[in-house]
């Protein structure tokens, strides 16, 4: 399962910028517990610019989860609020960074604008 989140962090690090996060700034530390092991990922967002590192300091938000739950979140199968309400993840600090980060996960449902019946206006 480790592949899922590694791929995720690799992908968002390469993406570098996300327009939907231009209103968001802060550092998120993801602490992922798998058995005895703990993985740490630092995601820094500066008005939409994203960088990922394995080391960092003073996060604004810490999210702690087991590997399965975390993988479910980044693959869009589990939304952050239900995960918190169910006690699957623990959050310290500002929840808003995690909410914004949902822009980076794969959609849990809905294949895109077409599903919404979206069509651009005739001009």
């Amino acid at each position: 399962m480790a592949g899922v989140r590694e791929k995720f962090f690799d992908e968002i690090g390469k993406r570098g910028h996300e327009r939907l996060l231009e209103g968001t700034s802060g550092v998120v530390l993801a602490e992922i517990h798998d058995g005895e092991q703990t993985e740490r990922w630092y995601v820094t967002i500066r008005r939409g610019d994203i960088s990922v590192a394995r080391k960092g300091v003073a996060p604004d938000t810490v999210i702690r989860a087991d590997g399965d739950s975390f993988d479910a979140i980044v693959s869009g199968k589990l939304s952050i609020m239900p995960a918190i309400l169910r006690g699957l993840v623990e959050v310290e600090g500002k929840v808003n960074l995690l909410v914004g980060m949902q822009a980076l996960y794969k959609p849990s449902s809905g294949a895109g604008k077409q599903v919404a019946g979206y069509a651009r206006r005739r001009t």
């Binding site: 239900p82 808003n96 914004g100 449902s109 599903v115 019946g117 979206y118």
Partner: protein, 712 residues
């Protein structure tokens, strides 16, 4: 239940009977609730095995109440040697001071018992009577009764302790009490809503006897709230009461979601809607802007944090969309309901930009406008990228979550609210007219902010061009030419849904109505089909689905009317706005200053009093805000750059009106006005605005604020 007593603190509230007891069934909405979960479904006090009877209930504050009780069977004759006082304050659960007084000259020995239990029902389960899927547990540990519920990793607990030594068992607490002649016995009970989820943990109730500081804090907070709001002086006393009631209710409706770290926004209604609602929180913030502008700032921040970022059919979420409703209960946690949050609302996203602009106009807080630039741009982009479902240039809605999503995603969200003149219901998508007005207004206001704060004149020009184009098309496509009014909606084929409705009033407020059509719209709104004498009906008499007590098809909504009056004023129909103000304020008098969500659309001369529509929530936030917006409208308060313009047009019976210390970018300013508009269409019955004898000839409406300016 008629005798229910409610106290609350944010989204924690207690609903009990008038003895203070709770004996809920799954469908019975009593109990201690927090974060949309019931933490106590039973809280039953007995003395020597007998329940107690209420002598009186003192509502001390909205968060605190006191029950005076006596033992006995509830006959009319009371000759008790004992009295029992339960004083209860809510917050982090609740704290209850239980005192028993012995009035006899003999000592007494009593068995006092409190039965406690919880079903941990989700609010949605209470509404729909659903069965639980997890398991319950209870234990006594370290002098504490723990009642819990677990489903997989989800768990919620209630902790119960007392300050006096008693015996605890898994079903409650018992005390063997000896009281000397004319003596008393007392204990403090703590009920803690531990493990709330949402990242919130509680260790003890907010206040109790041992935390003297906390309770005065809450009172001080209310006093401070009232002291900071503008002061109102008026010759017509009912308005003073209504104003005071609105401010206190607005204080009670403040809710601090976990993402706001202590700041509060207006929740939608007490007690069942004590949560963030996009539409309700925005409308209430708009109404309250001249009085408590900080609510708008919190609303904008919280809704901005939760702005949609992905396409998610279950939650009807799109990038840029502003949420409809947030919930924290078990069904939401397990995604059996989509409220985490749910985004199925077609107007809040546009109203978000409207509120941001209006907030800046009043406060001059460009810092917040800059901080929320990305959110505002996201909201504006949503209008064209996601809301134009039919590709015809109009905002429309159709839910993608067909199981638990909302069918009608406009403010009239009941199933039959959108209909043709003949009563048929249109298919989906539906493009209701007021959505187009809000879209127009959002673009115009977004353009102002782009030019002024974001320094992006090209974007401003683009938004204005789009707005002008929308206005032109709208006035062509929605105008019912032979009736001279705007259709309620366009249907999936782009044909007019031609019922006449109050939505037209919101069109005036948005500014989308061409000047040449405004007079006809105002005439309809104030005509006998729409205007009842108390207010404008949601649907005109003569429409196929009209029903004077139909939720959105004939009742009168004070909130709706407050925006209609604002719209009428904006188009220069000042006397018509004053007439609506008079009707709604007269109605408020019948409800002790607390306007209900809606009341019947019967003609005023027929019923003489406004017939309340039965709803579960009172106060309702946007009804609470209605008198505030009406005050603004009557006084003609309008921020123009650094100044507040005052241009009062008031109903005659109001006499002299002063609103002092109105906060804004000008500091504090006073506004004065005098009633001059004769709105008497009622006949004679009671001292209402319409029928107060006209005062001796006085000068017309005027203003003389410290820096307030008269006229435009």
């Amino acid at each position: 239940m008629n005798d229910e007593v409610k106290i609350l603190d944010g989204n924690t509230f207690v609903v009990s009977d008038n003895s203070g007891d709770i004996e809920a069934s799954l469908t019975d909405p009593t109990g201690l609730f927090s974060y949309d979960t019931r933490f106590l479904s039973k809280w039953l006090l007995t003395v020597d095995g007998q329940k107690l009877n209420p002598l009186s209930v003192d509502d001390l504050q909205y968060f605190e109440t006191r029950f005076f009780l006596v033992p006995g069977t509830g006959t009319v004759y009371v000759d008790a040697k004992l009295s029992v006082i339960r004083q209860r304050a809510v917050g982090g659960g609740f704290h209850e001071e239980l005192t028993i007084l012995n009035h006899d000259d003999q000592p007494v020995d009593l068995e006092v018992r409190i039965e406690a239990d919880s079903d941990f029902a989700d609010l949605f389960e209470v509404k729909d009577a659903l069965a639980k899927k997890g398991e319950y547990y209870r234990r006594v540990d370290e002098g504490r009764l723990v009642i819990g519920y677990r489903r997989e990793t989800y768990y919620r607990e209630t902790w119960i302790t007392s300050t006096t030594h008693g015996s605890l068992d898994e079903h409650g607490l018992a005390f063997s009490v000896h009281i000397e002649p004319h003596g008393q016995w007392t204990t403090d009970l703590h009920v803690v809503t531990a493990h709330l989820g949402a990242g919130v943990r509680v260790e003890k109730p907010k206040y109790g006897r041992n935390a003297k500081v906390a309770r005065p804090n809450m009172e001080r907070s209310l006093e401070k709230w009232l002291a900071e709001a503008p002061r109102l002086e008026c010759d017509w006393d009912p308005l003073k009461r209504t104003y005071q009631r609105s401010l206190v209710d607005l204080a009670a409706l403040r809710f601090s979601p976990p993402v706001l770290a202590g700041h509060s926004l207006p929740a939608a209604g007490l007690p069942w809607f004590m949560t963030m609602f996009g539409r309700d929180s925005i409308f209430t913030s708009l109404q309250a802007l001249p009085f408590t502008p900080e609510l708008a700032a919190s609303t904008l921040l919280a809704l901005g944090i939760w702005q949609g970022v992905r396409v998610d059919d279950f939650r009807d979420e799109d990038p840029g969309r502003i949420l409809h409703e947030m919930r924290y209960g078990e069904l939401t946690a397990f995604e059996e309901r989509p409220h985490s949050p749910y985004y199925g609302c077609a107007d809040a996203t546009m109203l978000y930009v409207v509120l941001l602009d209006e907030y800046e106009r009043w406060t001059g807080d460009t810092k917040l406008v800059r901080a929320l630039e990305a959110q505002a741009r996201g909201a504006l982009a949503w209008i064209d990228d996601y809301a134009d479902l039919q590709g015809n240039g109009y905002v429309s809605y159709k839910r993608r979550n067909e199981k638990t999503g909302l069918e009608n995603q406009c403010w009239k969200d009941s199933w039959d609210s959108i209909s043709y003149h003949d009563g048929r219901l249109p298919g989906f998508p539906r493009a209701t007219c007021e959505l187009q007005g809000y879209a127009y207004d959002a673009k115009m206001r977004g353009a102002r902010l782009a030019r002024l704060v974001w320094k992006d004149p090209a974007y401003a020009d683009q938004l204005e061009r789009e707005a002008a184009d929308l206005k032109r098309r709208f006035n062509r496509d929605f105008w019912v030419a032979d009736g001279e009014y705007f259709a309620l909606a366009l249907d999936a084929d782009g044909a007019q849904v031609d019922a006449m409705s109050s939505n037209m009033g919101h069109l005036l407020w948005s500014g989308i109505v061409e000047k040449s059509k405004a007079k006809a719209v105002a005439r309809h709104l104030m005509g006998p089909r729409m205007y009842s004498g108390w207010g404008v009906r949601t649907l005109a008499r003569g429409e196929g689905r009209f029903n004077p007590i139909g939720y959105h098809v004939g009742t009168i909504w004070p909130f709706d009317n407050s925006f209609i009056a604002w719209g009428l004023r904006d188009y220069g129909f000042k006397e018509e706005a004053a007439r609506i103000a008079a009707g709604i304020l007269d109605a408020a008098q019948f409800f002790d200053g607390r306007l209900p969500e809606a009341f019947g659309g019967y003609p005023r001369e027929q019923t003489k009093y406004p017939v309340q529509y039965p709803t579960a929530c009172s106060p309702q936030a946007w009804s609470t805000g209605a008198p505030l917006l009406i005050l603004r409208t009557m006084l003609g308060l309008e921020p123009i750059q650094e100044h507040l313009i005052v241009d009062p047009v008031l109903p005659q019976g109001i006499g002299h009106l002063e609103l002092l210390d109105i906060p804004g970018r000008w500091g504090r300013v006073d506004a004065f006005g005098r009633g001059t508009v004769d709105v008497d269409r009622v006949g004679r019955s009671r001292p209402q605005l319409g029928v107060v004898p006209p005062p001796a000839a006085k000068p017309a409406g005027r203003s003389r604020g410290r820096r307030a300016e008269s006229g435009r």
